[in-house]
Symmetry: C2
Subunit: 264 residues, 2 copies
Amino acid sequence: MKIENEEFKITLIGAGRVGFHLGKQLKKAGFDILQVFSRNLNNSNKLASLVDSEAINQLSEVSPEADLVIIAVADSAISSVSRKLSEILTEKSLIVHTSGATPSMVFQNYFKRFGVFYPLQTFSFEKEPDFSEVPFCIYSDRPKDLKILKEIASSLSEKVFVINDTQRARLHVAAVFVNNFTNHMYFIGKKILNEENISLDVLMPLIEETTQKIKKNDPFLMQTGPAIRRDQETIKSHLEMLEKHPDFQELYQLLTKNIQQYHL
Amino acid sequence: MKIENEEFKITLIGAGRVGFHLGKQLKKAGFDILQVFSRNLNNSNKLASLVDSEAINQLSEVSPEADLVIIAVADSAISSVSRKLSEILTEKSLIVHTSGATPSMVFQNYFKRFGVFYPLQTFSFEKEPDFSEVPFCIYSDRPKDLKILKEIASSLSEKVFVINDTQRARLHVAAVFVNNFTNHMYFIGKKILNEENISLDVLMPLIEETTQKIKKNDPFLMQTGPAIRRDQETIKSHLEMLEKHPDFQELYQLLTKNIQQYHL
């Protein structure tokens, strides 16, 4: 794959869930994957063999020949990895991370050309993601580098958004609510049902409909249930039913109060 | 439509969202809709004309000829409606309500033959539900009546569950978590994004994936995010970003604590 009429070489730092799927997809899109780094050589070998690349497990082995270096490691390791890479990489390489929680500015003491290449989806090793539907949130201070990232992202997905550091931070908090906390709601629902030997399957159509509705409608207008109806009798009976779970009671009460606060 | 080789006549009490869709679907399945009651004659007329039925707006006009009377009114009105209907209806009629929050026992002082016919889905006037996918939670103390309800529900949906009062109450609390509270998570996500001029569309693929994942996987095992990672730095920065919304901060903290409590 060429970017600006040059063969474009990409090195992946990290072979976790994001690096794994991103690497495979970049290869599929025609990019040359120069190296795959993982501290665990088994992991770098596994991905490298899939994308026809060199596996390494020492940052000192990273080649300065990459056009793009994608850092897909734990958020807390991005800074220290960057420091080590700054001893090797030059302005030939554009350096990006894939983190929703980390500002691009984490790179500013180490590199001149840097940015963010954040695929906003939850990945697991078991499931092949449909990349065409994955929103890519990209950013770089330098318009030329932003253009490169846009070109690469567009070769993977139809949904490319330029999102600056402030916006991305917001996006990440919002994602915690709609993904992590929502998943915890499903966990609670399942736990409550299991105690009466009911499968969560009974609620799956409702769960899916709740999601489908907000594709076309404002969730504010879609709110239903005892909280918004101020149905004290039902709320009271629900809290009684949850008496074995004081933590769920507390959540139920706070969420009910919060819903009512926005629906006066 | 015949049940036990007899033409089967159904009267609908209530022409709200549930009554409206249920009435149309029962008609489509071939049942005779004898009467449609709503306090608001406009509403009963609207549904009655669609299902070729008689519209009434006085409970005293309810005919004792119905084989099944479906009470689809607000939970709080079920008891008083039952009291009035008990002056008219006889053992010819099986009486059910469509409420997830109300025990079947609400009927025991008024009728001999009673039960529950609860379509576990969220309905809106704007959207035509796919009834074949709507779980019907049915119940009756009397095996013969349960059999009748099962036959009717099976003519509408492939998903019919016999769910007793205790189980249904549990199901309703669980539904509040997975539907009402989840929808509120979407509301919060959208509000956080709007302040930075980002559309919730950017998060829709993540939202859909979160739902799809739990179709095949235990939500406990699917939990991700800063809470389960005990990523204090991210949690702290998220709380700082939410400083304009102390209510969201409080929710974030409680949900984070609750997730961590189950993932020690």
